[in-house]
Amino acid sequence: MDLVQPVVQRLPNDIGGIVGDPVVRIDRPLEPWEKRCHALADVLDFHKIINTEEKRRGVESLGSAMIGALGYYERWAVVFANLLFQKGVLTPEEVALKMAGIDARSSAERGDDAGEPR
């Protein structure tokens, strides 16, 4: 039971007070796409499409395996997609088509016609 109990008592984000490693003072500037992702979060909040708490809960609902595997803004991008699907704002199909189009566009911009489908 001792192994199972913490799993139900704490969701993945609820880490206040647990044992942790020493703090390593790491910091780095955001990549341009990460900054756009942050701006997108703010604008979605302004329009009351996705608020901060929905975003946080959306990250939590990814589960600890995905939370651990993805970077900070990678989680945000996935959560925005999930929430926009749930809210009926966008559909998975149109996002998949759009992503394929962006891949083709960026291949063409790089003069690379060997763009492979994901």
Partner: protein, 213 residues
């Protein structure tokens, strides 16, 4: 610790070796472009918000701190209602958050954290450093703050109370550090140069040789 329990601050492989944008960058672009095409948001709003994000740095927080150090009326207003006092200075709050300013004194040292995520007083400090968003700081600040502070080189005497404030989506905190002795004749600019981001998070004091990490 599980294999998935590590934290990430690195941007992953968002730029592939051949220069192609990575999966998550393409996902972000796709969502943004679709939302714009469908009229939910405007491209200009994204551009404007990037400018807003870029305009918020710890220098803004330092102005607030120095104003509080040198203007007792403002200091009282700031401690009573952080957001209203900042707005009086012309600092807009683009997010729907309130701001509580926590004053360090001879007997109390304040520290801020967000155990659940990465909530931070962004309108006045900009974006949080990576270590603030990662597990060690979030997990330990609330249970062993003195040990965490010591890792930043900050030793708080036993007779000084350490208060840790845990931020939420709608309530953010800013530490008002103590003004160091020997700065009575400093100009406002010189004082502002001493006030670092980390001092306003509460992990270090303001000292005469403060240098932003």
């Amino acid at each position: 610790m599980t294999e998935h329990d590590h934290d990430h601050s690195h941007p992953h492989a968002e730029i592939a070796a051949d220069g192609a944008p990575g999966y998550f960058e393409v996902l972000e672009t796709a969502l943004r472009e679709l939302l714009i095409e469908k009229g939910f948001i405007k491209a200009a709003e994204i551009r404007r918000q990037i400018e807003v994000i870029d305009s918020r740095t710890p220098a803004l927080g330092a102005k607030i701190v120095v104003k509080a150090w040198t203007d007792s009326v403002f200091r009282a207003q700031l401690l009573a209602n952080g957001r209203a006092a900042c707005e009086e200075l012309g600092i807009t709050f683009y997010d729907d958050t309130s701001l509580i300013v926590l004053e360090n004194t001879e007997t109390v040292h304040n520290l801020i954290v967000c155990t659940l995520c990465s909530c931070y007083p962004r309108p006045v400090l900009g974006l949080p450093p990576d270590w603030y968003k990662l597990k060690p700081y979030r997990a330990r600040a609330v249970i062993e703050p003195r040990a965490v502070l010591a890792e930043f080189g900050t030793i708080i005497p036993d007779d000084v109370e350490v208060r840790v404030s845990d931020s939420t989506a709608v309530v953010r905190y800013l530490v008002l550090p103590r003004r160091p002795a020997g700065t009575e004749n400093y100009s406002l600019d010189r004082l502002e140069a001493l006030v670092t981001r980390d001092a306003m998070i509460g992990v270090v004091p303001v000292t005469l040789d403060s240098v932003e990490a």
